[in-house]
């Protein structure tokens, strides 16, 4: 083959390669297992390098899987904690559990049942209307009302502590009815057993 012919052949191959690269990408297909069998010409150094690459790939795969599993577990744990922390709200100067609050408490029940070591602190709060001192007692009534509801559903009362902040820690500042409604609440804090929550079955 003449040198001109060789150049033409190389040029042709390049054109085919460029055209191939510019074609619309085909949908990704699952990667084919990499043939890691060392060619016969591969010496020991070459084989070690291939083995190391294989091990890195396997380790990365395991780590990714682990990370995905952990992220999923974290999301599930966060969801459980969010359900446990979901506040319940009360009417003015009342400690009666409303239908809405009952639904929120019912969502906590399976988690509490699935995690016997879980302890909660229920804090009762009041809006700024009413005397400071009366509101301390009102916050207590609200926290105790929540505790008693959970106990009525079979949760051991020893796992539920109550505390009242009265009107001392408003969730929302302001003197509007909306602010008052958001401040008349019971909050939930995990005091034990919250590190590894078992999702309810």
């Amino acid at each position: 083959m003449t040198s001109r012919a060789q150049r033409l052949l190389v040029l042709g191959v390049l054109v085919i390669a460029v055209v191939s690269a510019c074609r619309k990408r085909q949908p990704e297909v699952a990667p084919q297992p990499v043939n890691t069998t060392p060619p016969e010409t591969c010496d020991q150094r070459c084989r070690d390098s291939i083995r190391a690459a294989d091990e890195r790939r396997r380790a990365d795969s395991i780590a990714n899987e682990e990370r995905r599993r952990k992220e999923a577990a974290d999301r599930a744990l966060a969801a459980l904690r969010a359900t446990l922390a979901e506040k319940v709200f009360f009417d003015y100067d009342q400690s009666m559990i409303t239908d809405e609050s009952r639904a929120a408490l019912d969502r906590k029940l399976p988690i509490l049942r699935a995690n016997a070591g879980l302890r909660l602190r229920i804090s009762g709060h009041a809006d700024e209307r009413g005397s400071d001192e009366y509101n301390i007692a009102l916050g207590q009534r609200r926290a105790v009302a929540v505790k008693r509801y959970l106990m009525d559903q079979g949760i051991d009362g020893g796992r539920l502590d109550v505390v009242s902040f009265g009107e001392e820690q408003p969730a929302v500042q302001g003197g509007t009815e909306d602010a008052f409604a958001l401040n008349r609440r019971a909050e939930f804090e995990i005091t034990a057993g919250g590190e590894n929550l078992t999702p309810p079955r």
């Binding site: 005397s131 400071d132 009366y134 301390i136 007692a137 207590q140 105790v144 505790k147 009242s164």
Partner: protein
């Protein structure tokens, strides 16, 4: 003395000695002045001039005496500038130009000289009779020139003012007193004139301070580390200790009995607060006072003879003020449905003279301070500007300290229940509340 001056002096004497009959809810008895022999009557405010006082601290002492007498609301301080007052007064009592002071409207003159550096010699002149009615030496405590001594020195000046008011009107003043209150989670104290504000406790979500009747202790409630509300006792100048009967549950709104030997507070283990009584200074068993059956009973206050209690209870559904015997029996509502469109009455405080109970009542959605006369159970509304709460009587049963939002952030205000005259006591950037007025501070 010319005819006009004679008549004027006579008229002045009649005004002072006459029996003014303006109606008042509480201070309705005529009192005999101890030495001035002026018959003080409610509604009359004899004119008093405080002469300039010599010495390095003379101006301060004069300003304090004038302010204390003014805040007592029983005399009128005649504002005389120092040159005028000095010109009208010679150095010795007998030489004082009484007719000139009479023209200024003065019934009495207060003259302070120094028997020694730490002893004030105080004289009160009767202008109408043109003579000194009484002189007494007052040893002053503390030392105004050192930081640790200012409070005692100021309190000793306040005590002089209170004694002067007693000489002039027959009623002891309220200057030598303090108010404790809660703000930013701490308990604070302030002198009755608004000076010497100091914190008594660290920030522990503390509230509801109450004086021991001798001023030697302050009881208050605070949230402990476990989230329980505890009652604590703080000795004057000392540290706080938890009342050992209140380790668990909710323990709030302590108050001392008039003899100081009993502390009553509100306790809840779970549902429902009841009042309990205990001797805080002896290992005695706690006695249950109220039987609330799940209702909330709190904010107690003793009658001055210690035989009765007033307290807040929602046993009928809404907060109301009740009166019972000190052991909790014979409870009856004081406020049921009275003077309140939404029926929310709470935080009673029994006046030291036993004639009235002040409390807060929700009117048109806002708390206002009410004074209920106990003889005829007649409520009298004392406030209308802003939200007004937590009244506490001064030792004279005439002034009250209360929380008000009238200037924005809640602060303490002092009101003369007779005239309605009101002054702001605290000027904090933070919310100030649950004030309690002491008895006279013993030196």
């Amino acid at each position: 003395m010319g005819r006009f001056s004679t008549l004027r002096a006579l008229c002045l004497t009649i005004v002072i000695c006459g029996a003014a009959t303006r109606g008042h809810a509480q201070d309705t008895t005529f009192r005999q002045g101890v030495q001035l022999w002026l018959r003080y009557a409610p509604g009359t405010r004899p004119g008093i001039v405080v002469l300039p006082i010599a010495g390095e601290l003379g101006d301060s002492v004069r300003a304090m005496l004038q302010r204390d007498l003014d805040y007592g609301d029983r005399v009128t301080i005649i504002p005389t500038d120092i040159p005028t007052a000095a010109a009208a007064a010679a150095s010795n009592g007998p030489a004082i130009n009484y007719p000139l002071f009479a023209k200024l409207g003065a019934a009495g003159i207060v003259q302070v000289t120094w028997a020694s550096a730490a002893i004030a010699r105080v004289a009160v002149h009767n202008v109408a009779q043109q003579k000194i009615e009484r002189t007494q030496d007052f040893p002053l405590g503390g030392d105004p020139k050192v930081a640790d001594g200012i409070a005692d020195w100021r309190m000793s000046i306040h005590a002089v003012a209170d004694e002067l008011e007693s000489w002039i009107t027959g009623v002891r003043g309220i200057a030598a007193t303090r108010i404790v209150y809660s703000s930013s989670g701490r308990i604070w104290q302030v002198d009755s004139d608004g000076a010497m504000t100091i914190p008594l406790t660290p920030a522990t979500m503390a509230m509801s301070p109450a004086w021991h009747p001798r001023g030697s202790f302050v009881a208050y409630s605070a949230m402990g580390g476990t989230g329980n509300w505890q009652v604590l006792l703080r000795e004057t100048g000392g540290a706080s200790r938890v009342l050992n009967t209140t380790p668990g549950g909710q323990n709030i709104t302590p108050v001392f009995s008039p003899d100081g030997n009993t502390l009553v507070y509100s306790h809840a283990r779970e549902l429902g607060n009841d009042l309990y009584a205990v001797n805080p200074f002896a290992p005695e068993a706690v006695r249950k006072v109220t039987v609330g059956r799940g209702s909330d009973n709190m904010s107690p206050t003793f009658s001055p003879d210690g035989r009765q209690l007033a307290f807040t209870s929602n046993r009928t559904g809404r907060p109301e003020v009740y009166i019972s015997d000190a052991d909790g029996t014979n409870a009856e509502p004081l406020t049921l449905g009275q003077y309140s469109d939404q029926s929310y009455n709470s935080n009673p405080d029994w006046s030291p003279d036993g004639r009235a109970i002040a409390y807060q009542s929700q009117i048109a959605g806002r708390f206002q301070v009410i004074s209920m006369g106990l003889r005829d159970r007649s409520p009298r509304r004392l406030t209308s500007d802003g939200i007004n709460e937590d009244p506490s009587w001064a030792p004279d049963s005439r002034h009250l300290v209360f929380t008000s939002s009238r200037t924005g952030v809640q602060q303490l205000f002092v009101m003369d229940a007779e005239s309605g005259r009101t002054r702001q006591l605290t000027h904090s950037g933070a919310k100030v509340r649950t004030g309690d007025w002491s008895s006279h501070i013993k030196r």
